[in-house]
């Protein structure tokens, strides 16, 4: 049963990806990409990665769709017709074939003997309850064991926000009040 769900979700992803590549109306592309994120979130849920699914649904399907739509307002929503080119198609096919070839070497999904489950994961699972004491191990790994990583991620988001403010921050000024100073 779970294989059927996996298969149909992956099929959905493939169909959506091809649709995005073939569409020329950018407005439709943005909406279909949002749907792609939503299907990804469903896949993450099936893989028991609920925290990741949460983020994907909120950021991928929600915020980034809105930001892309806001950007489309400033440009045209119709893609210029491109002539068919062989080299990009070959590059995509070769890269895809290499990626599929690389997965043949990977351990099976959920294999307890996989290297990723042999390193620090057993310690997190066994000692998190006693050392950190929060029931959600994902939270204890993210915020406590890997606190440095999360600090780095937050700094990246901070830097992104500062970058947006520096480049197009003047859009934050109030337009109707006529004064431009404190914003």
């Amino acid at each position: 049963m779970i294989e059927l769900i996996d298969l149909s979700l992956l099929l959905f992803l493939a169909v959506i990806a091809v649709t995005v590549a073939r569409l020329h109306n950018l407005f439709a592309v943005v909406l279909v990409m949002g749907f792609y994120s939503l299907v990804c979130a469903a896949l993450f849920t099936v893989l028991d990665a609920v925290d990741v699914a949460f983020t994907e649904a909120a950021v991928g399907a929600g915020i980034s769709t809105v930001v892309m739509l806001g950007t489309l307002l400033l440009t045209t929503s119709e893609e210029k017709p491109q002539p068919f080119r062989v080299v990009p198609l070959v590059v995509v096919l070769v890269t895809g074939a290499m990626l599929i070839f690389a997965t043949l070497d990977m351990p099976h999904y959920g294999d307890p003997e996989a290297p990723i489950h042999q390193h620090v994961a057993p310690r997190y699972i066994q000692d998190s309850r006693r050392e950190v004491g929060v029931p959600n191990i994902v939270t204890s790994v993210l915020a406590s064991y890997r606190g440095f990583d999360t600090l780095g991620e937050t700094t990246v988001i901070f830097a992104a926000g500062i970058g947006v403010l520096l480049m197009i921050g003047q859009a934050l000024r109030f337009r109707d009040s006529g004064k431009d100073g404190d914003a």
Binding site: D51, I63, L74, E131, P135, A143, S144, T150, I157, L172
Partner: protein
């Protein structure tokens, strides 16, 4: 969108629940899925919805830009400050165990709460700022 009355009424009904759900995800992240990042994005989504329906200028009056710019920095400072507090209390950077002198597990709880709050503040304010900046631009003539 001043004439879409159904959209406006439903939006007004939805926004408190979105904000409440964001706070639930923020403070319940220790027990269920979620945490500062997800909560920040959901919190921002409420403001984005408000901005989409009632206009960017109205959203700016609620999420004041100067307040947003402070929140972007204060969130990260709260995170780094929690880490620095660990050093001041005799531990390592980001070692929450020393935050409570009696029980290291309580210190861990407090540290995670503060750190997630910092992440949530920064993420929410960066997302709202990004939306307001992108949506507030006018097409160049």
């Amino acid at each position: 969108m001043s004439h879409h009355i159904i959209l406006r009424v439903i939006t007004k009904l939805f926004i408190p629940f979105i904000l409440l759900f964001a706070l639930y995800v923020q403070f319940h992240g220790d027990f269920g899925p979620g945490g500062g990042f997800q909560a920040g994005v959901i919190f921002a989504a409420a403001f984005v919805l408000y901005g989409l329906v009632f206009g960017v200028e109205a959203a700016k009056r609620i999420a004041h830009p100067s307040l947003l710019q402070w929140a972007v920095a204060v969130g990260l400072l709260l995170y780094a400050g929690t880490g620095a507090a660990g050093i001041l209390l005799g531990g390592n950077f980001l070692d929450y165990g020393v935050l409570d002198s009696h029980d290291p597990v309580h210190g861990q709880h407090l540290g995670i709460l503060l750190v997630e709050l910092g992440v949530g503040m920064t993420v929410a304010s960066v997302m709202i700022t990004t939306f307001l900046c992108f949506a507030g631009r006018q097409p160049s003539p």
